[in-house]
Structure formats: structure tokens, C-alpha cells
Symmetry: D3
Subunit: 220 residues, 6 copies
Amino acid sequence: MTRILVVNPNSTAAVTDSMNAALEILRTPGAPEIVCRTLTGTPAGIETQEDVESVVMPTLRYLRENSADAYVIGCFSDPGLAVCREAIKAPVLGIAESGYLTAAGLAEKFGVVSIKKGSIARHLRQIRMLGLEGKLAADRALDMGVLELADRKRSIARIIEVGTELRDRDGAGVLILGCASMGTYRAEIEKALGLPVVDPTQAAVMRAEGLLRLGYAKIA
Amino acid sequence: MTRILVVNPNSTAAVTDSMNAALEILRTPGAPEIVCRTLTGTPAGIETQEDVESVVMPTLRYLRENSADAYVIGCFSDPGLAVCREAIKAPVLGIAESGYLTAAGLAEKFGVVSIKKGSIARHLRQIRMLGLEGKLAADRALDMGVLELADRKRSIARIIEVGTELRDRDGAGVLILGCASMGTYRAEIEKALGLPVVDPTQAAVMRAEGLLRLGYAKIA
Amino acid sequence: MTRILVVNPNSTAAVTDSMNAALEILRTPGAPEIVCRTLTGTPAGIETQEDVESVVMPTLRYLRENSADAYVIGCFSDPGLAVCREAIKAPVLGIAESGYLTAAGLAEKFGVVSIKKGSIARHLRQIRMLGLEGKLAADRALDMGVLELADRKRSIARIIEVGTELRDRDGAGVLILGCASMGTYRAEIEKALGLPVVDPTQAAVMRAEGLLRLGYAKIA
Amino acid sequence: MTRILVVNPNSTAAVTDSMNAALEILRTPGAPEIVCRTLTGTPAGIETQEDVESVVMPTLRYLRENSADAYVIGCFSDPGLAVCREAIKAPVLGIAESGYLTAAGLAEKFGVVSIKKGSIARHLRQIRMLGLEGKLAADRALDMGVLELADRKRSIARIIEVGTELRDRDGAGVLILGCASMGTYRAEIEKALGLPVVDPTQAAVMRAEGLLRLGYAKIA
Amino acid sequence: MTRILVVNPNSTAAVTDSMNAALEILRTPGAPEIVCRTLTGTPAGIETQEDVESVVMPTLRYLRENSADAYVIGCFSDPGLAVCREAIKAPVLGIAESGYLTAAGLAEKFGVVSIKKGSIARHLRQIRMLGLEGKLAADRALDMGVLELADRKRSIARIIEVGTELRDRDGAGVLILGCASMGTYRAEIEKALGLPVVDPTQAAVMRAEGLLRLGYAKIA
Amino acid sequence: MTRILVVNPNSTAAVTDSMNAALEILRTPGAPEIVCRTLTGTPAGIETQEDVESVVMPTLRYLRENSADAYVIGCFSDPGLAVCREAIKAPVLGIAESGYLTAAGLAEKFGVVSIKKGSIARHLRQIRMLGLEGKLAADRALDMGVLELADRKRSIARIIEVGTELRDRDGAGVLILGCASMGTYRAEIEKALGLPVVDPTQAAVMRAEGLLRLGYAKIA
């Protein structure tokens, strides 16, 4: 049985738990085992660029020390993606790139729901890097306080509000949740907006499984 | 158990058999059932635009009359993709769009191996339509006679020749086989070129399974 | 004397009459004869993708059976354009592609006035396919009921409203009427907005005449 | 009867004669009168940027002093196009922009046949300005001496040579002659290459006639 | 000591004085001498395209007759840039191109503050020509009357208003002042908006100095 | 007197010496002091992605501990650029981004001379990230052995060979040396090819000085 290891580079187990819950949907009979792990000694959240960079080498080390058939880096900044991909034989997937690529196949234009306004420029750089800028409808931020974000109901209400703008004003035909830990909200948002919603962690694990099943582990 | 129906719009069962063989890799325990079917009363091969258009409504009819959890249209011209997607509730995937999207995630630039020079402009239109022109390294044709194409050894040798040009002159980091029925050649080409090779039929079935597993059937 | 045959793929003669009226401007002495015809046995309107696909082969058949020096497919979805162009020796023009190309020469950015919101994604695919996405200011829909649309005065008022947004908010320097049968409204809208307005049917017939006059019939 | 005035900004009457001959094809009964004129006191050829700029104000003056229903500036550098268009009420067309726009509608990618290598960067700037860079296959220069260029047979042979490269290596589906005075070669080149060839002067006059016939004189 | 000559192509000395004041910041010990000059016999302001073209040859003449190590054309329409660059051995810089290139390095997207709405299309053409359209957030006009523009306080207030829209609605991370004579407002606008603001004249002189210091005078 | 600190993230002093020599041209009276430093404890060369990532945090630490008015990261992979820019108040410049931006202003298309073929994909990602892919003519590798690279004469000969291809086959109008330590070769290559050549380290230091001189230190 193959195993996909999802690493949460921040040290907050609640985030890992949330990813784990959203991945339950992929734990079907015969499917690869999906294991979610939390790094230790890293920041509690990945907010600044320094947070991002500080987890790159720890993530690489963790992957080297924990064998799996494929790896997913569970942070929407894709920290360490390039280095892990080059240094590790098994497929390594980023959740942001996976979210963008999956959404690119679901509509003409995708909208990104970001947590903070400050990360929009970083997302744009990555979308450009992937050659997908032509598919971007817009990237809009929730800009909520920490307390509000912790409130599931309020978060979903705000995501629906921002998602409505992305759909009606910017022409998005699919939404990407720009965060590792909102995957369990998908169903409610999809129902409210009538649009497919991409949880980047689910998208990355599914892509990892696909690469394994199709035998790309030996090559890419 | 869910079922993915792969429809070969041309009436040549040998093409369907070839797809079927290439899909064997995805028939793992617990995975969706993959059924390949051949249309009847359609052209033996899809070469001209008239061939393409002539199978659109028959494909739609076939999908309507044969229920499945997801459908794959097994022809690199994606005939009827838009209409089936709009008219059918279940996910419908084209193999060309799936090949392009999958390859987009495997390298900075993809190369397309076409059978005939005459189809390159049609491919370009579709790549543009998907917003992926920036990812195209080049599209080069085998331009082989029918007899040669029937010869597996000669076909693979010619694909490797063209693939070498795509890799070394055009900078492709991944190749797409621009045809429904060359999937069983993948391993040999990958080995010879050291690049991942995308069989569009495999890519489409894997995407279909992913959409089903992640619950997009209800929305997209 | 050369003859341009304009085919309305839907079966509503009133639409054909409206195109015919808008083309009166091109019936000058010495100009090609312009004949407008209505298909029979096709949907009354082309709204869904199934409507589009269902008229493709009938349109091809009609062109084959009715000789002309050039053909125009009079529906903003350009149904059957690729197949007719490949199968017929004479030039075949789509009204949507003609509208986009003509508008591209009249301003830095063009705005599209669509009837229904649901067709905007389809337009975007075609604009991308033509390589003209960089020229698109925006595509906005009238979203009017059938009764209102039948009312010339109300329609023009709503087009002017939407056109004002395209001009002032989106920066469009020219408008394209995203429909085969609004050509007779052009003058009033141009006067109200101070922008050139492209009727796609007029644009297509003019392009057809140009190709004939310049002798491209023998080559393209 | 309407009148289109084609102005050759250089002072060489032989160039004007050549344009005039290529335009004969558009002088059909009922068509606008096409008059070709040569500026005086301007350079014998437009080769350097200083040549280009030196004819801008003389061209504007000439248009102001010679009334017509539409104007074509007969030089592939489109000198004075922006200023004449802004200052003159009647439509003013450039032959380069007209060549690019016409070719954009005839194939997925166009190739440009330039006289001199040194003008390729200038062409690229203009193609970008028009938003059409995605349609450019390549721009290749004849790089012939003056004497050779004067030899019709040699010129055509060299254009066919360069056109073959544009078609086979760069994937051009249509060629643009990057010069005002090679329009009479079109037929021979089209026959040799099997591709449509755009003479920019013919394309511009045809566009001018189209704008007049469709009543854009009052607006654009 | 090297000398950079900044030429104001319009004949209004007050504009030259304003540029001169904004350039004071670059007059540091050891830096090149920066001399600002006003053309005579040219329009008082460069507003229409005819104004632009009418100063091209006078600008070229002035540069030829006044030797310097590098030249800056001090008008946001970059009149005569191409011809001066080709005809003059020393580096010649346009302030618009310099503003765009400098801003491209300061944020993911730049916003342009234009004086008049009518110049936005002209700016777009130039930004496309430079290949930088992907970096443009938006271009918005002040659209103030002449009297208001003469009022420094009011102008700054309006620029801040427009800049706020460019920052918050369009996502601009840096602003470009689309005018030669607003450089002395930079500090106040930067303070109010918290964004870097590019004065194109300063940007051009700095680029000129850089090219000289790095020895590009001999080559480019 | 202001000070620009150039940090060589690898631990090979010879590379730092080479940069230092190439920067001599910018040490003019009144100019900022330019200091070049070598990190210790880092790899001898930055070749793999792991080399790149391993120097990110050490570079940030070094910048924090060594005050300067502006910083340049002297490695063509721009390691740590984003994090240093966010974490440090003073301007931080990458040599790769500076090379691309400087070259973008010197010709319509730039060519990149890479040391190794394996880094071309990484360069492409960064060029896309900057929104400059439309300016790229091509990126070609020297692919020389270590011994040959150490030989100045052989290196220059090979760069001229590759540069000739970039100029003549790919249409590059300016070359970028894709390496921190070839700046002293510039003059010989420029002379041989007749094209401007951008040394990225020189370009970055010049940009840094420009930002300081124009007062962007307080804002960007």
C-alpha cells in the first residue's frame, strides 16, 4: 500500500487536524494511506516571508527522514517546493500550485480567496511563475481578525461574501481557498455560491495519488 | 462502486483496445470501474474537421443513453466536450484538455507530439482556448504513413526522434502524446528521453476519478 | 456578379429579416449580391451548447447544397465555422470572429455586449482562441427577459446602459453587439455613446466581400 | 462616388506606381475611386527612423490639403498614422496595421517578410502595440542588395525562400509582405507556397472601403 | 565631468523649472551635471498627437546641435525617442519608458496617474510596445481643469484620491505620475499613500546616469 | 557617504573578487561606497536548489548584522531576495531581477547566457514571475566543464559563440550574463558581438544607487 505524507510546516496541530479532516474524503478502500504530520520548532503560523523561509530546510529534512511514496507540503506558500522536488526522488506537491492547476481545469477564470491582503502580491508572483496569470479572475482578501477567523460560522459567511464578489464582479467560475485549513468549509460555500470550490490540500493529495497511480514517481 | 465510461468516438475497436490497455494501470482495487466503448456508425478515424463534427451529436447521444459517474471522450480533438459538459450532470472530460493540464503541472514547458502536421493549428487553437499558450514549447508532427504508424517499433522510434527535438531544441520538460492510442508506448519513450510522457487518455481518466473522489460531480 | 450567402442557422425568419435589414447598407451598385437564408428544422434560437452543436452539420449541408462565392454563418456562436471552412472551397466567415477582428482595428480595447450572462465564458474561450484576449476590455450581459428584448426601444436603452459601463468603467473604445440581429440599432447606440459599434453580421459580410475582391477565394 | 486617397510618403513615383498596379484589383464597378499620390520633397525611400519622422508632418499637411473620403498611408512604417487619425475627420489607415489585422484573420500565426533585418525590431514594437504578438510566427528579412531587389524575378525567388522558412520552420499559415510595393508579386508567391499572402496596401484600401461602406466615417 | 541634457519639448519654461526642481535630488557631488532646457517655437503644452509630432524634428535638431553625454526627452509622450536614439550616438532616454521600467521593478503591478482621460489609450499603446502590459494595474485620469491643475494643493489632493483607487481597487503597488512636471509632489503623495511614487523625469535621468556610469554610451 | 553592501552567498572568495573587480567602474568620486563580502559556512558554489535554499537564512542573518544603506545579493538565483526585502528596511536588490529589468530597457528582446542547461527552467520561472516573459528571446547554456570555465579566454570564446546564436537565431538585442562573476568579460563580448551586455551585478548595484539617490529607501 502506498503512502502520501502531508506535512504541515507550521507547528500548530489544529491546522494539521483541519487538513486531516478535509482529506477524509480521499481515504477510500484501496486508496493510498494519507498521513498528516506537524513540524516542530517552526512558527505557529506562516505569515511573513521569514516564516516561509524558516521552514524550508526543516521541511526538506523532514521529508528526507520520513519515507513516503509522495509528499504534499501543506502550506499555501508552497515553502520548499522547489528544493524538495529536486532533492527527493518521490513526487513532491505544493498545495498552492495544485489548487491553481486544478481550478484551471474547472472554469475559464478562477478567483482566489486570501486570508490577508498582504499575501495577494505573493500569490500573483506564483501564478505568474506557473504561467497561469491569464486564468486569474481576481484575488480578494477576507481581512478578518484572528478571533473572527477562529469562528467557523463567521469565516464561512465572510468567504461567501468575498466569493460572491469574485463570481459576480470578477467573473470567477471556480474559487480557490487560499489557505491550508479551510477544506471542511467547501460544501457549504459551494452550496451557497453554486460554484465549485477548490481546497488546495485536497487538490494536492489527489494530484499526488494520480502521479503515483500513473507511475510518474519513477520519472518526474 | 463508481464507473467511468471512456467513449472512443471513432468506430475502430483496435483504438479502443489500445486505450483500454493503457488504462489497465488505473484498475487498482477500490478504484472506479473503467469501461471503454466504441461508437458505431462513425468514421474509422477522426482526421478531418468533418470527422470531428460528425461524432459530436452521436457522442452526446451515447452519453445520455449510457449512465456512468463520469465520462471521458477518447479522442485528441475533444469532440463534443462543451456540449456534453453542459448537457450531462456527471463530469465529462476531454483527453486533450486533460493532457495539457496534466503536463502543465509537470514542467515549465510542454511539447506536443502530433500525428499529422495538419492538426497543429487545431491544437494551438485549443491550447489558446485553455489559456495555456505560455506553457507550450512546440508542437511537432510525426508525419508517418499509415503502414509505419501501425508498426509499434517504428512508431516509438519516430516519437523518440521527435521528442528529442522537442526536448533539446524547444526546451520541453514533458511530452504529450497527441493521440488516444499510444499510451502503451509511454514507458519506452520515458526511458529513452528521461522526460515524463503524458498519455492524454490516462490523464483524463485520472482527472475524472479525482473529480469524483473529491465530490465535484454535484457541482461542476 | 458574385454572391455572398448569409445563413441563419436558427429557424426564426424574423432574425434573418433583421440581419437582412442591417445588411442593406452593403447593397451598393456593383457590390456582391447578399442573400440571407434561414435553416429549417433547427432550433428557434441558439441558446444552449446543444443548440449550437445541433446546427453544425445542417449548416455544412446547407452550404454544400447552395453554391455561393462566399458564406457567412449568421450566429454569434460561429457554429460549424471550422468544419465549413475546411470542407468548402469558398471563404466561410463567422460573425463572432469577424466582429472581434474588426473591433480590434478600431480601438485599443473592445467591449462585448452579450445577451445572456451564461454566454460570457463561451465568448472568452473564442476570444482566447483567436489570440485577442489582450484586446478585451470586458464582456457584459444585458440579462433581459424575452419580452423586453422584443421591444426595440427598451433593448436600445439597455444596450446604451451596458455600453456606458463598458466605455467608462472598463475602458472600451469600441463595442461589439454580441448577437446576430441587433445591427439596425447601431446608429442610435453610436450616437448615444460616441463610440463606434460593430454589428458582427455587417463585419462578416464586409470581410467576405474583401476576401473575394482581393482574390483570397482561391487560396485561404 | 467616394474616393480613397493613397499617399506614398516617399518621393519615388515608381513605388507609387507599383502600389497603384497592385490596387487595380479593387477598381471594380461601383467601388470607390482609388487615387495614389506621391509626396514631394521627402526622402526617396523610408529606411531610417529619421526618414520615417521626416515625412510625418508633410503627410498630415498633404491629407489636410487634399480632401478624400478615406486615406491610406502607403508605407510599412505607418508614418503619421496616429496624428492623421486624430487630426482628420475621415478614416485614416496604415498599411502595416492593416496587414497585421487582415493576416490575423487568415491563420493562427502570421509570418512577416521584411526587406531589412534592421526593421524587425520596429515591426515587433508595432505588433506589440496592436496587441497581436501572440499571432506572430516570426519576422524574417530578405537582406538583399538594392540591385537584386530591383530584379522582380530574383526578389520573388528570395521571398519564396524566406516564406518557405516562415511556413515550415516557424509555422506561419499566412505571410505579410513587409513593404508597400510588392503587391504585384502576390499571386506567384501564393502559388509557390500554397499560403495566402497579404499585400498590406491592398489590405489597407480594402479596410478603408469597408469602413466607408459601413458608415464608420462619421464616428471612428 | 559628464553632462545629461534634459530637453522640455514644449515652450513653457515653468514646466522646465518644475522638472529642474525635481531633479535637484540627483545633483550630488561627483554626479553628472544635469541641464534642463526649453525648446522654442513649439506648443506651450503637448496635448494633442499633433503637438507630439510637431516637436519630434525640433527635438532631434536640438539634440544634434547641443552636445551632451546623454539626453532625456522631458515629455510623457516620449516624442522623438526612436529617431533620436537611432540618430544620436549618446544614450537618449524617454521619461515615459523610464517611468514604466523603474516602476516595474518596485512592485508586482503599477498604476498610472494620467492628467487627461484622452491620453490613456496612448499610454496603453506604449506600455504594450514595451512588453509590460502584464504589469499594469490600471491607468486613471485626474480630469481636472487647467486652473485646478495650477493649484499645487488641489492637484496633490486629487492625485492622492486617484492613487487611493489605484492602490485599493486596482491593486497597484507603485504609482507613476504621468506627467513631466509633478516630481516635486512625490514626497507628499508617498507619505499619504504609503506607496513608492515614480516621477518619470527623475527615473529617466537616473537611468541615463546609470548607462553612462556603466559604459553603455559606447554601444547601445 | 552611503554604503552598498554586496553579499556573495557562496563561500568562494574568488567569486567575490571577480564581482568586486567588475564593480570598480561604479566607484567614482561621490558615488556610494561599494563593499563586497563573502559568506562563510555556505557552499563553495550555488548550483543545486538545495545550495540556493541553504544560503537564504544565512544571507538574511548577514544583512541584519551588517548595516548598510542598500544591499545586493550577489548570486544569479537571487536567494533570499523576498525575505530580505520584507525583513530589512533598506533596499535589497537581486542581481537576476536587476539584470532582467535593465536589459528590458535596452532592446526589444533579451538573451540569457546560462552556465548550465539545468538552470534554464529556474530562470524561466523567475522571468515569468517578473512579468517579463514577452521580452525573452531565448536562454542558452554554455555547458562547459569546470576547467574550461576557469579559463578566461575559453569562457569568453564560448560566450561569444552562444551570444552569436542568441543574436542571430533568436533575435536578442541585448545579452545578460547569467552568473555573478563574468562582469569583467563584458567589454570583450560587446566588442565581438556589437550588442550591449548586461552584467547582473553591475546592474543591481547601479539600481541600488539609483533607489538611494532618489530617496526610495524610506518607502519601498
